[in-house]
Each structure stands twice: as structure tokens, then as C-alpha cells.
């Protein structure tokens, strides 16, 4: 047997204990590879949405890389520690530290190349599938599979470097000086080291502080809190797992009537040891899960923004013609033509809007004619308004403004034309996107409207009125491509800053909506994949820990059976041991996320006026189900391993 063979056999025969983090690294490499396939896709080189996808995936790749590095490093050092007995034998037989390093390096390289190869193979096999999902989400006509060396090189390069780094670093953690300690296995003597009561209280205190701050976040403080709460919560979590929880358990243990009760004695004591043993791991799992929840939750709440989109954009196409627009009829004709070509039913209402100055506020207002407005309202299926002469009705620009406008009675005069108006109410629906009309817009009686004949102060008569074409198309999301030439001209004008040739404003909310929707869906898709890798890794930490303790646990259960524990009691003990390992980090992560979402909601309220509660609940419920499934899977494996003896 050569030296290399030894390393090879070590990997092969330890495969069962390598299984969990082999799985996690294969999935991580696979996702990484799929993202690279997207990034290097020839189709994305010019597309606008493509560039967003590429950026999102690039970020995701960096995150994956860093996380996998961290995860593999942790698993590897724990695994090497668990194998210390084996290393003890080898060192005892005269293996030098250098040879030992070399052996581990070989093993790592074998493991690395197998998992990279497997990850890429799976990734490539599934990339057609992921391209299909991507195509659906981004609503592209086609996203063909392609062959290029670039994604392969990126993945291989990234993970080769990663495995090399890990094998060098993790080797340095083996201490070969004290062979006896190695041989002795890894029941560390300082396992139940003293708890510092100050740190225990500090842990709980910091968590409380973070939660209170998060719950009390206000608009004004939110940007400061973003930098205060996460570090406080992170330190608090760390101390909670390394100290507070043990202090609490010790308090519990002091109460013998609780503790000395049937299987509790064994299960609580055992859980305490395991929680202490892997405190750092629980900390990592908690933070990782929190980040995963938050990422996916935030992205999901973006998609709920698109859900509100229709309410704030009830018009399907908006064309506004300003002064000197010679192309007005030509453009409208073009739009109608395109709609007919696409076979879309539509209705168009033309409104003339006059600009005046209101005496009450001194601000400029837009004035609409009641009969024209009613025509649009009935097209959209809303009620009419009939202001009497001298009366006005406010046009709300958002749901929130509606309430505010309804409460005020304004007594004003349109200064230029000298028309007095009393405005007591607001129209109960939002009809116009807020960017297309003045925030102060008023519907007036037809006669009053006729009487507005003086131009806005300092402007010509032409400049003080414009034509508003509102299209209603029942199938409003199907307007992709309608008026693209107008949009392009506008984009060009925005880019060059030269508006001299543009005397209109055009908006296609249906197209914008699809764009919003697909980019958020894409981000969500990227986020869910990363979160899945996180969760899988978190689960494999736990599985791995269970596996390394299996021998000890098995012996212990054998003893308990001898001492007369029934099968039911044993199962209860196993459950009591597994449940905290799975669900304690989980619960803490859930708590963290809930409070984080309370503060996020404040941020959201400020700029998008939407509620993320529903989406959050869905995300958290979804993750909980995945975790439950994972728990039962691992419990099943664990119990069958235990019974194997």
C-alpha cells in the first residue's frame, strides 16, 4: 500500500461520515456552477435584465464561496478532531507530522476533486432545467443551453483554491506533540468548563436589548439602528449559546424535583453536554439561518410590491401630449395600431388638463373636466362625479392620500381665471399613476372648466394645458412591446439630457410591471437557492456532529437498556436530544428574523407603503416545513445507525 493509497482508502472508508458535508459541498458547487452558466450565457451580454441577473448571481457566487469556505473549514477541523484517535495510532507508529499533513492534504484533494466533479456534473445535467426556470422567470423567448469552457474554469478554479486553503489551514489544528492525548480520543476534560455568570447575563441582556431596539425602531432612527442592532444581536447570540443557555440549564439542574425525574436526568444532562460541545456550531447555524430567512423574506416582500402594482397603476397605457406636439395624432394612431395588431381590446379616454394656481396653498394645480373624467371612470367601472358649479373634487394620488384629502375642506380660488372653488371631498379611487399628474389635481364642473381661460402665471396659453390619453386594456400585462419606439426615444432623451425633440410623456405600466416582477422573481430564485445551500449546510453540521458522537451514544443507549429503560423511554430521550439540536438554533433564528422584520416593515412603510407580513409568514412557514422534513430524515438515519449494533 502506497502512501497515496492510504489517503485514498481513508476517504473511501470514512465515506459515511464524510457523507453529510460531501453532500453539502456538492450542492454548493452545483449551485455555483449553475450561476456561472447563467453569468457566462452569451444571451446576457447585452440585455438589461440580463445584467441585473448577472450581478445578482455574481454576488450570490461570492456569498456561496465565502460560506462554503467557512463551512468546509469548520466541518473539516471537527472531523479531524473526531479522528484524533486514528492519527494517534499513526503518529505512535512513527508517522511524522509532515507525513500526516501530506496524508490529510491528499485526502482533502481527493474529496475536493470528487465533490467538484460531482457538483459540476450535476450542475451541467440540471442546467437545462435551471435555464428553463430562468427563462420562465425572465420571460425570455429562449435561453438555450450552450457549451463554453468559462463556467467550468471558474468553478474548478474557485473550488480548487478553496480546498487547498482548507487543507493547509485545518491541518495546523492537529497537535501531534502529545500522542497520548490523541490516542485518548476527544473527551475533552474542560468540557464542562466554568460558566461566567456575567457573560451569561450579558448574553441574555444583549438579546433583549437587540429585540427591544428592533421593536421600537422609528423612521428617524432606522438607519442608525441598521448599524447597531445586528452586531448587538450577533454578540448576544454568541454569548447565549456559549454561556447563557448553560447557566439556565444549571439552574434547572439545581431543581432536583424537576431534574431527577424519569428520563429527564439523562436527556437534559446529555443535551447540556451536546449544546456545550457544539456551542460555536449552534451559533453559526443560528446566524446562517437568520441570514437565509431575512434574504428570502426580503426578496419575497419585493414580489409583494409587484402585487400592489396594479392598484397604484390602474391605467394600462398613458400618453401625455405637451405643447407643440406635432406627432400627437401620429403617436396615438401608432399605439392603436399596435394594440389592434396584437389583438388587444382597448378603450381610450382623452382628457384635457389645465394648469392653474390655487390661492389657498399658492401651489400649482391640475384641473380636470368632470365629463371627461366621468368617461374614463365609467370605462374603468368606477362611479361618476358631478360637482356643481363652484365645487371641486380632489383626485387622490395614492390610497393614503385619499384619507387625508377626505378630511379637509378647502376653500380656494383659481387665481389666474378668478374661479372660486370649494373642495369638500376626494374621488374614492386612485385612477392616475402619481407621476403623471400633479399631486394637487381637482375635478371641476364643465362650466367652470370652460371658464378657465387664462394661462398659468408666466406661461403661454399653450404651455398651461396638456392632453392626457388614458388607455384601458383589460389584458393589461400583455402590452409588452407596445409603444417601444416612444419608450426608446424617451430613454434616449433621458440619457442625453436633450428633451428638445420630446414633447410627450409615455408610460407602459404593463411592461414595467413585467420587468419588476421578473427581476424580483429572479432575485428571489437566486436567494432561495443560496438559502437552500445554507440550510443544507446547517443540517449537515448537525448530522456530522451526531455521527461523530454515534459510538459514544450507542454505548450509552446499550447501558440504559441494561439498566431497564423501555424502548419508549429511549425514543423519548433520543427525541429530547435531537429536538434542541435542530430546533433551538431554529427558534432563535426565527425570533431574530421576526424582530428584524418588524424593523424592516418600518423601512418598507417609508418608501413603498406595503405590508410584508403575509410574505414573511409564508417564508418562515416554508422554511419550518423544510426543517421538519430534514429533522425527520436525520432522526430516521440516526436511529437506524443506533440500532445497527
Amino acid at each position: 500500500m502506497t502512501f497515496r493509497q492510504l489517503a485514498y482508502r481513508n476517504v473511501l472508508r470514512n465515506l459515511r461520515s464524510y457523507a453529510a458535508f460531501f453532500l453539502a459541498s456538492v450542492v454548493s458547487i452545483m449551485v455555483f456552477f449553475v450561476y456561472s452558466m447563467f453569468i457566462f450565457h452569451p444571451l446576457f451580454e447585452e440585455e438589461a435584465l440580463g445584467s441585473m441577473a448577472v450581478q445578482g448571481m455574481l454576488i450570490a457566487e461570492v456569498v456561496l464561496y465565502v460560506f462554503t469556505l467557512f463551512f468546509l473549514f469548520y466541518s473539516m477541523s471537527a472531523f479531524l478532531q473526531a479522528r484524533s484517535k486514528e492519527f494517534g495510532v499513526l503518529v505512535h507508529l512513527g508517522m511524522t507530522k509532515k507525513q500526516l499533513n501530506k496524508m490529510i492534504f491528499f485526502e482533502m484533494m481527493i474529496l475536493g476533486s470528487i465533490s467538484t466533479a460531482a457538483g459540476i456534473a450535476f450542475g451541467f445535467a440540471f442546467s437545462k432545467f435551471f435555464f428553463m426556470i430562468g427563462r420562465e422567470i425572465m420571460e425570455l423567448d429562449s435561453l438555450p443551453l450552450y457549451l463554453s469552457w468559462k463556467p467550468f474554469m471558474l468553478t474548478i478554479g474557485a473550488f480548487a483554491s478553496l480546498f487547498i486553503i482548507i487543507s493547509f489551514v485545518s491541518v495546523s489544528f492537529i497537535r501531534t506533540k502529545r500522542v497520548l492525548n490523541l490516542l485518548h480520543g476527544y473527551w475533552k476534560v474542560d468540557e464542562m468548563g466554568k460558566n461566567s455568570s456575567i457573560l451569561s447575563i450579558a448574553g441574555l441582556g444583549l438579546l433583549m436589548l437587540a429585540y427591544t431596539l428592533a421593536a421600537l425602531v422609528e423612521d428617524e432612527t432606522v438607519y442608525m439602528m441598521v448599524f447597531i442592532i445586528p452586531p448587538v444581536a450577533t454578540i448576544g447570540t454568541y454569548l447565549f449559546f456559549t454561556h447563557s443557555i448553560h447557566a439556565l440549564l444549571n439552574l434547572y439542574k439545581k431543581n432536583k424535583s424537576l431534574f431527577w425525574h424519569k428520563s429527564r436526568l439523562v436527556s437534559i444532562a446529555d443535551s447540556a453536554v451536546k449544546l456545550k460541545d457544539s456551542a460555536q456550531m449552534f451559533f453559526i447555524v443560528t446566524i446562517v439561518s437568520t441570514v437565509a430567512f431575512l434574504t428570502v423574506g426580503t426578496l419575497a416582500s419585493f414580489t409583494s410590491y409587484t402585487g400592489d402594482y396594479r392598484e397604484t397603476n390602474p391605467l394600462s397605457l398613458v400618453y401625455i401630449s405637451f405643447e407643440d406636439n406635432e406627432q400627437e395624432q401620429e403617436h396615438i394612431g401608432l399605439l392603436m395600431n399596435q394594440l389592434e395588431q396584437k389583438g388587444l381590446a382597448y378603450d381610450v379616454a382623452q382628457l384635457t388638463v389645465k394648469r392653474q394656481t390655487s390661492e389657498a396653498s399658492g401651489n400649482e394645480v391640475d384641473i380636470l373636466q368632470a365629463s371627461q373624467f366621468n368617461r374614463l371612470a365609467s370605462t374603468l367601472g368606477h362611479e361618476n362625479v358631478n360637482p356643481a358649479p363652484g365645487e371641486g373634487v380632489f383626485v387622490p394620488y395614492s390610497q393614503d392620500s385619499l384619507a387625508a384629502l377626505n378630511e379637509t375642506v378647502t376653500d380656494t380660488v383659481l387665481i389666474e381665471s378668478g374661479i372660486p372653488l370649494v373642495i369638500a371631498k376626494a374621488y374614492p379611487h386612485v385612477l392616475f399613476p402619481s407621476r403623471t399628474l400633479n399631486a394637487n389635481s381637482i375635478i371641476v364642473n364643465d362650466r367652470d372648466f370652460e371658464n378657465i381661460n387664462m394661462p398659468l402665471r408666466g406661461l403661454t396659453a399653450e404651455l398651461s394645458s396638456f392632453d392626457y390619453y388614458a388607455f384601458d386594456i383589460p389584458d393589461w400585462t400583455a402590452t409588452l412591446g407596445i409603444g417601444d419606439s416612444l419608450t426608446d426615444q424617451m430613454d434616449e432623451a433621458f440619457e442625453t439630457g436633450d428633451f428638445s425633440r420630446i414633447s410627450y410623456y409615455f408610460e407602459n405600466p404593463g411592461e414595467d410591471y413585467r420587468w419588476f416582477k421578473s427581476s424580483f422573481a429572479l432575485l428571489l430564485f437566486i436567494g432561495v437557492m443560496v438559502a437552500l445551500v445554507f440550510l443544507l449546510a446547517a443540517g449537515s453540521f448537525i448530522y456530522f456532529k451526531l455521527y461523530t458522537d454515534l459510538e459514544r451514544d450507542r454505548k450509552q443507549y446499550a447501558l440504559l437498556v441494561r439498566l431497564g429503560m423501555t424502548e419508549k423511554e429511549l425514543l423519548r430521550i433520543i427525541n429530547r436530544q435531537l429536538v434542541p439540536q435542530f430546533f433551538l438554533p431554529w427558534t432563535i433564528a426565527l425570533l431574530h428574523s421576526c424582530f428584524a422584520f418588524i424593523s424592516l416593515q418600518v423601512v418598507w412603510d417609508e418608501f413603498a407603503e406595503l405590508s410584508i407580513l403575509g410574505e414573511m409568514a409564508m417564508v418562515l412557514a416554508g422554511f419550518t416545513i423544510v426543517q421538519l422534513l430534514y429533522f425527520y430524515l436525520i432522526r430516521w438515519r440516526y436511529i437506524s445507525h443506533l440500532q445497527a449494533s
Partner: protein
């Protein structure tokens, strides 16, 4: 009436090579007796003990403990039977590492709904008896082998079982600790009338017993009863062992107490 009645017990391990570990063995153990079972490696001692412990099945024959045939009990009843009637002492102590000495002692009682004050009383009584008081709050890795085995004996005694089964209790101990443990076992036997079955290699350990039963290749070989002087009993045990012709290495170098 004998406490343990072994009747024509046979144990066959099926497998690639069928192996007859115990062959038509029969003997009885009286209440209050301290019995040693000796025999060379592979003679079936541990198999026999496991069958008495109810954790291994018989191929044929019958074992009665206190008038009950445990092999006829259901799973849960059997667990309860072990919990209440049997106490175990092992070669490698088998203390639970995450429990303190005190918690290890109280373990069999917690399984059985005993009220807390009664548990505390019992623990104190046992700790006193076995001089474990100073180490009650230590964890198993912090105490010596002798202390660990005393703890294990305490755990085997605390629920006042009918029968204590000891598998090489001195196998992992130095001679001083061995002597302490054996004196403790025989004192418990003498003063509290506990019935003990001990499997051992060690003729010194066996010389503390009332009776030594020798088995060879799973069959009864001989038995001898103690007399007044332990030294002569020890000599007689050695004589039988030499007749037994087991591997010489099995018999630890003569070390007279």
C-alpha cells in the same frame, strides 16, 4: 427456594460457523449467595451472564429468577424487570460521562418514579456506605478507576435489586483498588444479604466468593465452596484452574492478598 435457577440452558450462535457457546448448563443460586463463575477465554462466561441479564436470548432451556421466567416477558415488562430486580457492574464501569457521580447513582431510581426525598436519602446512604461523599459532584473523568467502580456498584445497589450481576468488575483496576472493590462486594453480600453473580478471570477475585463455578467450552466443569480461610480457598481455586487447563495467560500472576 433458590433465587436463580438455570435449567439445561443451551445457547447456539447461528452464522457462517455455528457455535455452541453454552451447552446444557444447569445450576442454582441461593438467595444471599456470592457466586463466582470462572473459566478460560471463550468458555461462555459472558454469554451466560448476558442471558441471566435478560439481554440475550436462550436457544433452549429455562432461566428462572425469583420465580419469574424473564424470557417470557414482553419488551416493556422485561425492561421493568431489569430496572427493579437486577443491578449491573461492568468491567469498564459504564458510567454516563455527562452525569455527576451523584446523578449516576440516582439514575436507576429516576427511571422509577421514586419521590425526590426518598431518592436523596438513598443516595446519601449509599454514598456514605461506599465513601463516595467527597466526590459526589465530580464527573466520571475526574475520578480514579476505583472510585468509578465504587460508583458503579453504588448504582447497582441503590434500587435494592434482588440480584447483582458483575462482569469482571476488577478487570480494569490495580490491585489495591481491586481489593477495595472485592471487600466492598463481599461486605454487601454479608451484611445486606445481596445475591451476587460475578464473572471473573481473577482467582483472587473469585476467592472472595462463597462458591466458584467453573465452566469450560460452555459446559459445567466443577464447583467448589469456600472454607474459613481465604488463602486455602485461593489455593484450591488455582488447583482447579490448573486442571481446567485454560490458557495460562488467563490466570493473573499469583498475587496473594
Amino acid at each position: 427456594m433458590p433465587l436463580v435457577k438455570i435449567d439445561d440452558v443451551t445457547k447456539v450462535y447461528e452464522g457462517k460457523v455455528t457455535h455452541r457457546a453454552i451447552n446444557q448448563l444447569g445450576f442454582e443460586v441461593e438467595k444471599g449467595e456470592f457466586l463466582a463463575i470462572m473459566g478460560p477465554s471463550g468458555s461462555g462466561k459472558t454469554t451466560l451472564l448476558n442471558m441471566i441479564s435478560t439481554i440475550d436470548e436462550l436457544t433452549s432451556g429455562r432461566i428462572m429468577i425469583d420465580g419469574i421466567d424473564p424470557h417470557e416477558l414482553g419488551k416493556d415488562e422485561l425492561a421493568l424487570f431489569r430496572r427493579r430486580k437486577l443491578g449491573f457492574v461492568f468491567q469498564d464501569f459504564n458510567l454516563l460521562q455527562m452525569l455527576t457521580v451523584e446523578e449516576n447513582l440516582v439514575l436507576p431510581l429516576t427511571l422509577d418514579y421514586i419521590p425526590l426525598d426518598k431518592m436523596a436519602d438513598r443516595v446519601m446512604g449509599i454514598a456514605d456506605r461506599l465513601s463516595l461523599k467527597p466526590i459526589l459532584h465530580k464527573r466520571p473523568y475526574e475520578i480514579s478507576g476505583g472510585e468509578a467502580q465504587r460508583t458503579a456498584i453504588g448504582r447497582a445497589l441503590i434500587h435494592k435489586p434482588d440480584l447483582i450481576l458483575a462482569d469482571e468488575p476488577t478487570g480494569n483496576l490495580d490491585s489495591k483498588a481491586s481489593r477495595e472493590v472485592l471487600e466492598l462486594l463481599s461486605a454487601i453480600n454479608r451484611e445486606e444479604g445481596a445475591t451476587i453473580i460475578m464473572v471473573t478471570h481473577d482467582p483472587i477475585a473469585a476467592s472472595y466468593c462463597n462458591r466458584v463455578l467453573f465452566i469450560k467450552d460452555g459446559e459445567f466443569f466443577n464447583e467448589i465452596y469456600s472454607d474459613d480461610r481465604r488463602q486455602t480457598f485461593y489455593q484450591r481455586i488455582l488447583n482447579v484452574l490448573s486442571l481446567l487447563g485454560g490458557n495460562v495467560n488467563d490466570i493473573s500472576a499469583a498475587r496473594l492478598p
